[in-house]
């Protein structure tokens, strides 16, 4: 299935589409309000972009510095070339301490690596502890948004899921009560979790610390009650200095949800006495993306989700329509690096309106990269044949004024003379499903102009 097909399925429920669009637009408005209040916001974006670009330009050095400092803190550092190696490392750590249960706070990286199914297959009980993640886990779905994993669901859906899995009363749909039920349910899991996995928002090279940002407190609760903490990070999470956190913490939550900062900004450098901490640094295609000059700056992404909230296409097609770990505009420029054929329709799931680029707190030129991926996808022969042929034909027409004038006249006259039922048949003309074609005039502009010149 392609993005247009999945998107069409989503929009076919008009009411839910309205709700999805308006809910995420509300988040975008909260972001605007928070951003307008900071006079230096645009300078912060530039700083964040410059810091990330600098870090990428010396990434090997910062990775080594980070590793050295983390080791000095008593942390074990692991390197994974791909998802399979990452998953194996996590399983080996678990087996090494004889652990069979795991609590996990939000980590898009482990989603990307499909860690959960791998561990479950190997007999590990995995509990996602972020509320949204837990909801989609119970439903055996993928998150549909970076920051709001269950944003595709209504409270009735969540109520039904909790009724089945947590035993809440049938028909209970009050978010307060449902959240309380999840709190009680997950507290039990926290108390028995042997190993806690967290994602990483930022990894500070000069201290070896990893920084995790949450609103619920689930990362801290999981880590601080478990014997072993495993922090899984993409290698692009590095920043050079603790002071750089000042820039990124001011941007992240404001861009994501309009909050001035996340509730918990937690800095983990050294395990508590008698406990262990591991960091897994993952490549999984990132070094390849680093080697693509047109696309490497997608690695600046701090996963705030602002591009999703602002994207008029995402808001009306839902996160699952992208069928990739990271949905929305940023996912559409990250996914072709992973599998161009499978994700070939994603860079086209955009009007190139540019709003994503304008909200991005680290100034990734998302819409420009969408345009560039389109060129590569076409060159690699991944366009549908009809599109390819059409564009060749169009080019011939447009480079030859004579043919062009003739073709234009045919189109106008055809539209004028053919019956409406034929020109507007939805089966042949997708335009006409919801729209009228222009009313064709008798005279083109160029014909009118020719008459004027004669008059002059």
């Amino acid at each position: 299935m392609s993005h247009p097909q999945r998107a069409a399925a989503f929009t076919s429920d008009a009411e839910r589409t309205t709700w999805h669009d308006e809910t995420l637009w509300f988040v975008r408005q909260k972001r605007d309000k928070a951003v307008y209040a900071i006079p230096e916001f645009q300078q912060l974006r530039q700083l964040a972009s410059d810091i990330k670009e600098h870090t990428l330009s010396r990434l090997d050095e910062y990775l080594e510095q980070f590793e050295q400092n983390a080791r000095a803190n008593g942390v074990q550092v692991h390197w994974a070339a791909d998802a399979a190696e990452h998953n194996r490392i996590v399983l080996d750590i678990m087996r090494g301490v004889g652990a069979t249960s795991l609590v996990k706070s939000k980590s898009m990286l482990t989603e990307e690596c499909h860690l959960n199914p791998f561990l479950i297959k190997n007999g590990i009980a995995v509990v996602d502890t972020d509320l949204g993640e837990r909801i989609v886990q119970l439903r055996e779905e993928a998150p549909s948004h970076l920051v709001l994993p269950a944003i595709h669901l209504k409270k009735e859906d969540v109520g039904e899921t909790f009724h089945v899995h947590l035993g809440t009363p049938k028909g209970e749909k009050d978010p307060q009560n449902l959240t309380e039920a999840a709190r009680q349910h997950l507290r039990e899991k926290f108390l028995i979790g042997q190993v806690a996995i967290t994602g990483v928002n930022f990894a500070v090279a000069e201290t070896g610390a990893v920084v995790v940002c949450t609103n619920e407190g689930n990362a801290d609760l999981g880590v601080n009650l478990a014997q072993v903490h495993i922090a899984c990070m993409g290698m692009e999470k590095l920043i050079p200095r603790t002071a750089d956190l000042g820039v990124f913490t001011r941007l992240l939550a404001r861009s994501a949800t309009g909050q001035p900062v996340t509730t918990y900004t937690s800095h983990f450098a050294k395990p508590a006495e008698g406990r262990a901490m591991h960091i897994v640094i993952v490549d999984n295609g990132r070094t390849r993306q680093l080697g693509r000059p047109d696309f490497r700056n997608s690695l600046k992404c701090i996963r705030c989700g602002a591009c999703m909230n602002t994207c008029p296409v995402y808001r009306r097609s839902g996160g699952h329509s992208y069928d990739f770990t990271v949905p929305g505009p940023i996912g559409a420029i990250l996914s072709p690096n992973i599998d161009m054929r499978q994700h070939s329709t994603l860079p086209f799931a955009s009007t190139l309106c540019g709003s994503c680029t304008d909200v991005c707190p680290v100034k990734i030129d998302i819409h420009a990269q969408l345009y560039k991926w389109r060129q590569i996808i076409a060159q690699e022969g991944e366009l549908p044949a009809s599109k390819k042929l059409g564009m060749k034909l169009l080019s011939t027409v447009l480079a030859h004024p004579g043919i062009y004038r003739f073709g234009g006249k045919i189109a106008r006259e055809g539209l004028r003379l053919l019956p409406h039922g034929l020109t507007h048949a939805a089966a042949f003309n997708p335009w006409a499903k919801a729209r009228e074609l222009p009313e064709p005039p008798k005279q083109s502009f160029r014909d009118w102009y020719a008459e004027q010149v004669v008059k002059l």
């Binding site: 929009t11 086209f348 799931a349 540019g354 709003s355 390819k388 222009p438």
Partner: protein, 264 residues
């Protein structure tokens, strides 16, 4: 000053009144524009579909057509953005550079080059302005809501200056309409939904005449307005100004700007 008029293909064939209004509006402002007949298209439809390589002959044709003009003016920010931003894939000859620098959206030309920020005339209607993304976010002709709460821009200033015209306050000032070139066909469902939502915003807030600077967005929105038989007219802003502005006396044309010199 030699001004070449670029009238995009679909305007030429389906919206000649927009081309005519553009031509006459410029005339009223003292600019006698020329329409080179060999012109076709800027190549954007192909390039946005990923076929930039196929579009190169079209780029060359565009440059050949307009290289001899001081300015190229088009009633479509999207085409202008494409020429300025994406003609970087052909060899940057003097002609290419000159054409890229001197191609202007009509209202950018009126505001920046002609220095006109107010237009006399009367148009007693509530007008809803659709900000087209390529003009706004691409060419920075209006403030972006991603950056600032201030809602201002070249076209809204010109419209506000017209006597009797009130501008609609929209719930979403600058949301994309969903046209997006071939997007409107390949992603028909989302495209149509986006257009419907845009039109609805105008309808709710009292727009009688829906306008904008880019006919491609307006073609899409008009298609929805007509399909739903909504009480709303769709007009390109050039049509509004041309209708509002009185005919000038023959001697008014005094404006002589300096031509842009291409950087080598």
């Amino acid at each position: 000053m030699k001004v070449g008029l670029f009238i995009p293909c679909y305007i030429d064939q389906f919206y000649p009144q927009v081309g005519i209004a553009t031509y006459q509006l410029l005339e009223k402002l003292g600019v006698q524009a020329d329409f080179p007949r060999q012109q076709t298209c800027c190549g954007q439809p192909m390039a946005n579909t990923g076929c930039e390589q196929d579009a190169k002959p079209v780029y060359h044709h565009f440059v050949d057509t307009f290289a001899g003009y001081d300015y190229v003016v088009a009633p479509s920010g999207s085409c202008v953005y494409h020429v300025r931003k994406h003609y970087d894939v052909v060899e940057q000859t003097g002609a290419v550079q000159h054409v890229r620098q001197s191609t202007f959206d009509l209202f950018d030309f009126i505001t920046t080059v002609l220095g006109v920020t107010e237009l006399p005339g009367r148009f007693p209607h509530q007008v809803g302005l659709h900000l087209s993304c390529h003009g706004q976010r691409g060419l920075h002709q209006a403030n972006e809501s991603e950056m600032t709460p201030v809602r201002d821009g070249q076209l809204s200033r010109l419209l506000r200056s017209v006597d009797g015209l009130t501008l609609t306050e929209l719930n979403r000032n600058d949301e994309c309409c969903g046209f997006g070139g071939t997007f409107c066909i390949t992603e028909e469902a989302v495209s149509a939904r986006m257009g419907q939502d845009r039109v609805q915003d105008h309808l709710l807030n009292g727009t009688e005449v829906l306008t904008g600077g880019d006919m491609s967005c307006l073609m899409h929105l008009e298609g929805i307005v007509r399909r739903r038989q909504l009480p709303m007219r769709v007009m390109h802003a050039a049509e509004i100004f041309n209708a509002a502005l009185p005919q000038p006396s023959p001697s008014v044309s005094t404006f002589v700007p300096q031509p842009i010199v291409a950087e080598s």
